[in-house]
């Protein structure tokens, strides 16, 4: 099992990516809301699925742990 942790900037997260936050919340992103609460430097990542509804707000340059990319799972 690899110990390598891949990080991704919040602003680079795409729909379908699965990420883990600093407080260990995991979500598979189904929507990205730009300019969260009217602030251009903030965005919100949302999982709206059967499993959960969870919203995480983050500065665009905040690094999150990337668990998997949508494009990887599709291949």
């Amino acid at each position: 099992m690899s110990d390598v942790v891949t990080m991704i900037r919040a602003g680079d997260v795409s729909v379908g990516d699965r990420v883990r936050t600093a407080n260990a919340m995991e979500l598979t992103v189904t929507r990205v809301d730009e300019e969260f609460m009217g602030r251009p430097n903030l965005l919100a990542l949302v999982e709206d699925s059967e499993a959960q509804w969870l919203k995480v707000a983050a500065p665009r340059d905040l690094e999150l742990e990337l668990i998997s990319r949508a494009s990887e799972r599709e291949n």
């Binding site: 936050t21 407080n23 260990a24 919340m25 709206d48 509804w53 919203k55 995480v56 707000a57």
Partner: protein
């Protein structure tokens, strides 16, 4: 508009719906670890100023925003009382958005905010002021402080003060 819901208090007991009947409600989804958590102070000031037979704040703990309400019922209640000396009631932890959204929030989120936007709760500490006859909902987004004059004026208008 169906405005009846079964609610469970944070201690696991059913909320006495008769006790809420005829009262204006300020329903707020709360969280203990949010940057907006100090809004508890303003909510408690509203409860002390207007709380009684005609008005109450009703806190709804929710962990759907940043996972900022991770604790159990006892932890949440202890935090509120110890940190902010809250006296208003809390429900059990609920989903306010998504497929397991509580019926109370299905009803509340049908109401638009001041910009005409209805739908999802945006973040912790969104406020819904519900008229005593349940025929009107005034919605305030999270950044609006509990003691903002718009909130106070809306409460006083409902109470005829």
């Amino acid at each position: 508009m169906d405005a009846r819901w079964d609610l469970t208090a944070i201690d696991g007991e059913p909320v006495d719906s008769a006790a809420l009947e005829g009262r204006a409600l300020l329903v707020v989804n709360v969280a203990s670890r949010c940057g907006l958590t100090p809004q508890y102070e303003g909510l408690e000031r509203l409860q002390r100023s207007y709380g009684g037979a005609r008005f109450t704040v009703l806190g709804v703990p929710c962990n759907q925003f940043g996972g900022q309400e991770p604790g159990g019922a006892e932890e949440i209640q202890a935090f509120c009382v110890a940190t902010y000396a809250t006296s208003f009631p809390l429900t059990e932890k609920l989903d306010v958005n998504g497929r397991r959204q509580h019926p109370l929030y299905a009803w509340l989120t049908s109401a638009p905010d001041g910009d005409g936007r209805a739908g999802e709760v945006e973040w912790n500490f969104e406020k819904f002021l519900v008229a005593p006859d349940r025929q009107g909902i005034t919605r305030f987004r999270p950044a609006v402080e509990p003691d903002d004059e718009r909130v106070v004026e809306a409460i006083e208008a409902l109470l005829g003060e």
